[in-house]
């Protein structure tokens, strides 16, 4: 294949990775930014989204688009509810202590993963895409559904940005992120904000998973890669920075797509990890992060 089409394919693949990664990492970034909780179980919320998408689509039947749309709405809601319960039962009782919550979320990771293994099983199960349109280019074919993931993800990112910057809820969240004690002094129920943010973070991961599952299948171990990449993204982008998260996700996604296509997937992972090391050495707060007060 010639260089031009090859690069085009690499870019498309990279953008799909970026789109899903941006949503997943945004959830992790929000939780860290507002609550200062490093949520190691984030990848499992992603996996739960995919597994629930399979359960919902196979329960509904009929035209694949019907089941998919239902999954896109219901799966994140269920995952959000589970996250809320986990937040109430575990994180709140630990008083959001940074060290304790890391250990607690590691525990949650294993609990969720093993429950999925017990009730869903070890198989990888497919979910039908809502539409299957193959875009025919002169050099290769490409899945139309994959392109729609990029669009859907962009829309969701814009929506999240609007909520954060233009609504009262967003204002409260930003205020809590800036200084939770002062916010509480102003009569904001910080505890409830924490619960909401934790659920929202999990829901973003679940939405990303529902979008990706028609092209990658639901599997109980699928949460590991997104978790690792999300951490890479938010470290590079700056913890808690929405803009940084999106920029870093595009950067990592594209470099992953292009490097793994022209060289090897292993090299792409090496470069991403090296990038994290460089950022930590030269700009510990991340590309767009603000230095800690």
């Amino acid at each position: 294949m010639h260089f031009g089409p090859h690069l085009l394919l690499a870019t498309l693949e990279g953008l799909v990775t970026s789109a899903v990664l941006a949503l997943t990492a945004l959830g992790l970034s929000l939780v860290f930014g507002v609550m200062r909780v490093v949520n190691v179980a984030h990848g499992e919320f992603f996996m739960l989204g995919a597994v629930l998408a399979w359960a919902i689509t196979s329960a509904i039947g009929g035209h694949p688009a019907l089941g998919f749309l239902a999954a896109l709405v219901i799966a994140p809601l269920i995952v959000g509810a589970i996250a809320l319960v986990a937040e109430r039962l575990v994180l709140r009782r630990l008083d959001y202590n940074p060290e304790a919550t890391i250990v607690a979320t590691i525990g949650m990771l294993y609990i969720i993963q093993q429950l999925a293994l017990t009730f869903y099983g070890p198989e990888a199960r497919p979910v039908e895409p809502p539409f299957s349109y193959r875009i025919v280019l002169p050099w290769f074919g490409y899945s139309g559904y994959k392109l729609s993931i990029i669009a859907a993800s962009a829309l969701l990112l814009i929506a999240t940005w609007l909520v954060l910057t233009r609504t009262r809820i967003g204002l409260i969240m930003r205020a809590t992120q800036y200084d939770s004690e002062t916010t509480q002094a102003f009569g904001i129920p910080v505890g409830r904000v924490y619960g909401g943010v934790f659920a929202l973070g999990a829901m973003l991961a679940a939405i990303a998973a529902v979008l990706i599952v028609p092209i990658s299948q639901a599997h109980y171990l699928m949460g590991q890669d997104p978790l690792l990449l999300s951490f890479i993204v938010i470290i590079i982008g700056g913890l808690g920075s929405l803009r940084g998260t999106v920029v870093a996700a595009v950067l990592i996604g594209l470099s992953d797509g292009i490097v793994s296509m022209f060289f090897s997937p292993t090299l792409a992972k090496i470069i991403a990890t090296l990038l994290v090391a460089m950022v930590l050495v030269f700009r510990p707060q991340g590309l767009f992060g603000t230095a800690s007060r």
Binding site: A124, P126, F140, Y142, Q217, M261
Partner: protein, 434 residues
């Protein structure tokens, strides 16, 4: 253990030789037979214990589940017919997580904790390679159903056998003439980046070369990969045949993305059914496979010329004419491989009977009796077809099926002969000490 009270000190007065012997015998009996209460009268009535190293979780889970079903069916049939040497057979399952490190631990657990008579049933080649040393150290006969060439390469040890399924080197050698003659001469290989894939990487090029065809590109993909489009540009444009063999939970994605990439304007496809094992061939997005060819160890779909033995085997395992679980058409089996469990257990039965096997102390005799086997006739015990067995390399050789996707089914279009797949042995296990 220290003998503080002098129980075993025969010079002590008041302790007769008879009493000491009784004590020793009772102690030995206790040590050798856990569950000693039920079977304390004679070991011969205790069940034969087969440790099943199963891929219950991890990337091999779909295979593990069907290997368990097939094994359960075979054990049921064996026990109904009187067991082995008049003893019932009991299977103890341990999950190895499709992980080589865990696999070795499981073999150790079977040897020291469950004290099974043999270990059996592993599929994934990296788990076999990782577990084989543990089997050797524990002098534990280890019967794998893996398909990889590592057993026959004689690089493992004398306790490892593969008597139920042909190895990859033989499969490739017997099918290469058909590929070169019917599919095309310029072949690009896509294979998983671990032991099993390397068998394909190493043995396909020479086998095709002998038929005047060439491998023009080799693409290795990590078995845990979840997205594949990025590898496809490496397929050279002049490729006439894509030879694909993939494993793991993402196999459906692999084939789907191949279809999206090429559409109907594709090179010929020759795949190992591993790329679609446990996956419905009529899944949406797989239409482009129509007319392509697959290797199958044992056919997934019932064929018009199926023998009575094949029909009985399918009924016993519980798969319908489409190779899916009876009553659940979506639960597609791993039919191309799992017959190996059934056949291996009958080989174990034969070898144990030949050896007059009584218990773990006869494991060396069992190894020698297995090595003495020469051939297995087609029939209820070997429904996939006749096989020969080479005791020096611990490997069996059988027929292979090449099937064409036609109207949403796999139809066998070519069967190889056993002779097509024979090669010069690379070593001799029987020279190793037991």
């Amino acid at each position: 253990m220290t003998d503080k009270n002098g129980f075993f000190d025969l010079s002590k007065t008041g302790f007769t030789r008879r009493a000491a012997l009784k004590g020793l015998a009772a102690g030995a009996g206790l040590a050798m037979a856990p569950g000693f209460v039920r079977y304390s009268q004679a070991q011969s009535s205790a069940p034969i214990k087969i440790g099943f190293q199963s891929h219950r979780t991890g990337i091999g889970a779909a295979y593990g589940r069907w290997y368990e079903k097939t094994t359960a069916a075979a054990i049921k049939a064996i026990n109904a017919a009187g067991g082995i040497n008049g003893r019932q057979v009991e299977v103890i399952i341990e999950d190895d997580g499709t992980d080589p490190g865990r696999g070795a631990e499981v073999v150790g657990k079977f040897a020291t904790q469950h004290k099974t008579d043999i270990v059996f049933g592993t599929l994934f080649s990296h788990v076999v390679i990782g577990s084989a040393p543990a089997a050797g150290e524990n002098k534990m006969p280890y019967f794998v159903v893996s398909e990889g060439h590592h057993v026959a390469s004689t690089k493992l040890n004398r306790y490892v056998f593969q008597p139920g399924i042909t190895d990859v080197k033989s499969q490739i050698q017997s099918m290469a003439p058909w590929i070169a003659a019917n599919a095309g001469k310029k072949v690009t290989q896509i294979f998983p980046d671990f032991a099993f894939g390397y068998d394909h990487r190493d043995y396909l090029p020479p086998a095709l070369k002998a038929q005047g065809a060439d491998v023009i590109a080799q693409i290795a993909i990590p078995p845990t990969e979840s997205s594949f489009t990025k590898y496809f540009p490496q397929i050279p444009a002049e490729t006439e045949v894509i030879y694909h063999v993939m494993v793991g939970p993402a196999v459906l994605t692999f084939v789907k993305e191949l279809g999206e990439f090429y559409g109907s304007n594709r090179p010929q496809l020759f795949g190992f059914i591993d790329s679609l094992e446990a996956v419905d061939i009529n899944s949406p997005g797989l239409e482009f496979l129509d007319g392509s060819h697959f290797w199958e160890g044992s056919p997934r779909y019932a064929q018009p010329d199926d023998t009575e033995a094949q029909k009985a085997y399918r009924a016993a395992v519980g798969i319908d004419d489409n190779g899916a679980a009876v009553g659940d058409p979506k639960d597609v089996s791993t039919a191309a491989h799992m017959f190996g469990c059934w056949e291996t257990l009958y080989v174990v039965k034969k070898a144990m009977e030949d050896a007059g096997y009584k218990g773990p102390e006869d494991r060396a005799k069992l190894v020698e009796a297995t090595e003495a086997l020469k051939e297995f006739a087609e029939g209820p015990e070997h429904p996939q077809g006749p096989k020969t067995f080479n005791g020096k390399i611990h490997q069996c050789f059988g027929i292979q099926n090449i099937s064409k996707v036609e109207g949403g089914k796999l139809k066998v279009v070519h069967k190889t002969k056993i002779e097509d797949g024979l090669y010069e042995p690379e070593g001799d296990y029987t020279t190793q000490a037991l």
